[in-house]
């Protein structure tokens, strides 16, 4: 079957602009969750978040397009360009139908939407601008990226809250297998506006700590909710064969396995047990043709809510058995915040960088690992020979997704050659 690989990374995250900045930041253990600076957050459930400092939209996006789009889309467009540049892939060099855009969305164009509603209710219908109809809705980033890069292949916008980035990358593999050789996938999020933050506050999952150190602390005994964040990652997913044929500067790894399940328990409460989260992992590992013994590192969903962390630990134990105490588990998002749909895309980028560098970054903001979980939580960056990494993501409401990323070895290229590659 056609194999799908990642050849380009674009990162816009609290940990940095660009994959290299992001990687250096998480390896250094920088905490990038801070008091919200875009507005006075005092009256909101949470006052801290992961913010992308120094992101100037006009440095990445045509100023005419900046006024037509939300911050979430600016970040998607910027990360898309980075991923294409990284892969040295120019869609214009190929049939327009050979490239697709499949960016996930979590909550849409929040800042734009709030501004236009403010205009509507303060000044009336005529105050609503011409771009509201194309900036607020969830397809804005995918549509704009498709237009910006003249891609005509099948587009999609999957929405599964925090699992969205992973699901879009899983779908990208499907699109590749169905014959579109390059797919721009992943996603970003920009929820740091007063109204969106108000909505987030009702989820019951946010930290109320004003101190970033005491805030989002996945797998810690003091876990007390998560800090939201903005940003995410966009990846270029390609058909392995065409990526090699066109001389892609690198292949970060293969999307070897993917699966999604749903708890289908309660729209707001966590599942009573980890059955379906474990099933997503097992299905993804089996889909890759591997067993749990083959997994070298786990990038956890790491909700930072004690009950949800316990469920993830339980799911891991179901899948890995007693070996789980010997499989490194990381979650650098503790340094960054949870970026909704952008977060799981960023976790995949992190996993691929870990494979390339042979280093597992540490769990973010972890001081006292809860021993009840029985996990080998990475405390300081650890050098490891990483061939297979499992990434987990969950979405509010009960979405569970898992992806297995596999390092491409020289033998894989030889294998391609054996099948007629020249």
């Amino acid at each position: 079957m056609t194999r799908a690989v990642v050849t380009g990374l674009g990162v816009i995250a609290p940990s940095g602009i660009g994959a290299d900045e992001h990687w250096k930041s998480i390896l250094a253990g920088e905490l990038n969750v801070r008091r919200i600076s875009a507005f006075d957050p005092t009256r909101y459930t949470t006052t801290i978040a992961g913010q992308v400092d120094g992101f100037e939209a006009t440095a990445h996006v045509d100023p005419r397009l900046v006024v037509q789009t939300d911050r979430w889309t600016w970040m998607s467009l910027a990360a898309t360009q980075m991923a294409l540049d990284d892969a040295l892939y120019n869609p214009a060099d190929h049939s327009p139908y050979a490239t697709s855009v499949a960016l996930a969305a979590g909550s849409g164009g929040n800042d734009f939407g709030q501004r236009e509603m403010t205009g509507l209710y303060r000044r009336g219908p005529r105050a609503v601008g011409a771009y509201q109809s194309i900036a607020w809705f969830y397809a804005a980033s995918t549509g704009q990226s498709s237009i910006r890069h003249a891609t005509k292949g099948p587009a999609s916008v999957l929405v599964t809250e925090g699992a969205g980035g992973l699901d879009s990358l899983g779908h990208a593999r499907r699109v590749v297998r169905r014959g579109t050789t390059a797919v721009i996938a992943g996603g970003t999020e920009a929820p740091l506006t007063p109204y969106a933050l108000t909505c987030y506050g009702t989820s019951g999952r946010l930290t109320t700590s004003a101190d970033p150190r005491a805030g989002y602390k996945p797998f810690d005994k003091q876990a007390n909710g998560y800090a939201p964040g903005e940003g995410g990652a966009v990846l270029l997913v390609e058909d392995f064969r065409t990526a090699v044929e066109r001389g892609s500067p690198q292949i970060y790894g293969e999307i070897a396995g993917y699966a999604a399940t749903h708890d289908a328990f309660d729209p707001n409460a966590p599942a009573p047990d980890a059955t379906h989260m474990a099933r997503a992992m097992s299905l993804a590992i089996a889909d890759a043709g591997l067993t749990a013994d083959d997994v070298d590192l786990i990038v956890a969903d790491a909700a930072g809510v004690a009950e949800l962390d316990a469920l993830e630990a339980s799911a891991l134990r179901m899948v890995f058995g007693d070996r789980i105490s010997a499989v490194p588990v990381t979650a650098p998002q503790g340094f960054i915040g949870r970026l909704n749909a952008g977060g799981s895309a960023l976790s995949v980028a992190t996993a691929l960088l870990a494979i390339r560098e042979g280093v597992a970054p540490a769990v973010g903001n972890l001081d006292q690992p809860d021993p009840a979980y029985g996990l080998d939580l990475v405390r300081v960056p650890r050098e490891l020979d990483l061939a297979v990494v499992l990434v987990n993501a969950r979405g509010f409401g009960g979405f569970n997704s898992s992806m297995v990323l596999r390092k491409i070895a020289p033998a894989d290229i030889d294998d391609l050659a054996g099948k007629g590659f020249s």
Binding site: F39, R43, Q68, A105, S107, G113, Q114, E116, M117, T118, L120, Y121, G124, P125, V128, Q132, S133, I134, F137, Y138, A139, G143, S146, I147, A150, T151, K152, P154, A155, S156, V157, L158, V159, E161, G164, D167, H171, R174, P194, Y195, T198, C199, Y200, G201, T202, S203, A260, T261, H262, D263, A264, P267, N268, H276, R279, N340, G395, G397, G398, F399
Partner: protein, 426 residues
Amino acid sequence: MSTGRRVVVTGIGVVAPGGVGKQAFWNLLTEGRTATRRISFFDPARFRSQIAAEVDFDPLASGLTPQEIYRNDRFIQFAMIAADEAVADSGLDLRSGAGVNHDRLAISVGSAVGATMRLEDEYVNVSNHGRDWLVDPAYGSKFLYNALIPSSAATELAVRFHAHGPASVMSTGCTSGIDAVGYGAQLIQDGDADIVIAGASDAPISPISVACFDTIHATSARNDDPEHASRPFDATRDGFVMGEGGAVLVLEEYASARARGAHIYCEIGGFANRCNAFHMTGLRPDGVEMSAAIDAALGQAELDPTTVDYVNAHGSGTKQNDRHETAAVKRSLGQHAYEISMSSIKSMVGHSLGAIGSIELVACSLAIEHGVVPPTANLANRDPECDLDYVPKTARDMPVDVVVSVGSGFGGFQSAIVLAKPEVAA
């Protein structure tokens, strides 16, 4: 990619303007009545377009609990009721949790704008009618996060039917309703699920949505004649009429549907979507990308263009859309385009953004089932540049074996799906 796993429709449900349920819906369509009217949800006097196709919907009477109503935006309520009907229609016992493998039951819901209505209502409260940028959370309701994330629609259906397979919302604007069903079909073809509850829902008739389409003159301003305002392919058309609603189809793998003796409405023979990569709202008149989607969908179905009997048009009633898709259909079907019937049910139920694609697939399933093609209401004087047979005003009895349904949306998305009688698609 042919995997050998075929996908059929075994249940349908719909909540549409003019009536809840497939029978009321089909009656409206085949009688050529229109459900467009002056907006009643709020006073539309200050708006350019003051008309819409509203659903007279009583969620409690439809069977939702007070908690389900309190928790969910109207668009999710539509989806739940449409899904209840579709699942009951399929004969599958999904709510008891017995009988089928729920680990292989998936959810794929489309929506263009999600919980816009509730987000706007709540915004009015927390912002003190727009006065406060730093909105006050004390005035927000408990389930605001469920409204912010449209994925709640997929969650609600998963919980409702104990669906532990993949669940997602597909939000590709106005092609969401085709794309969600197409994606659901792919899940079955690729072996990721055996049964998919697929469909779409939108409830956009609120001031912010009406205002945003006003500014770009996308909607009809025929305010003095709401019943005849949605006029696809007519020379006097002046934009679409916003609608709302939801529709759900139960998709099953063909062999297992046959094995359980299910009633099969039709087979999903092929699905494809393409982008025009041109403009977020504008269309080139040549219809190349929509045509590419039609060609690919027919190719997957292994059907020759000359086998098409009926094209369910996007037919929004904007000047450029109706020409664009007329060109696309001619490009794909050639001379045969002049022999097929093509109609737009948006003339009767309006344009419910992402939902309409699935509502139209319910109409197409019923067209195949009954051998009747719904008309294009209000079509009196055809646009000279729209020169196909749009089935003006009156439904048409005719054998319907192969249907192509198309959609076009903001973002440049163009989608096509092929439905066929199973024996034809075999």
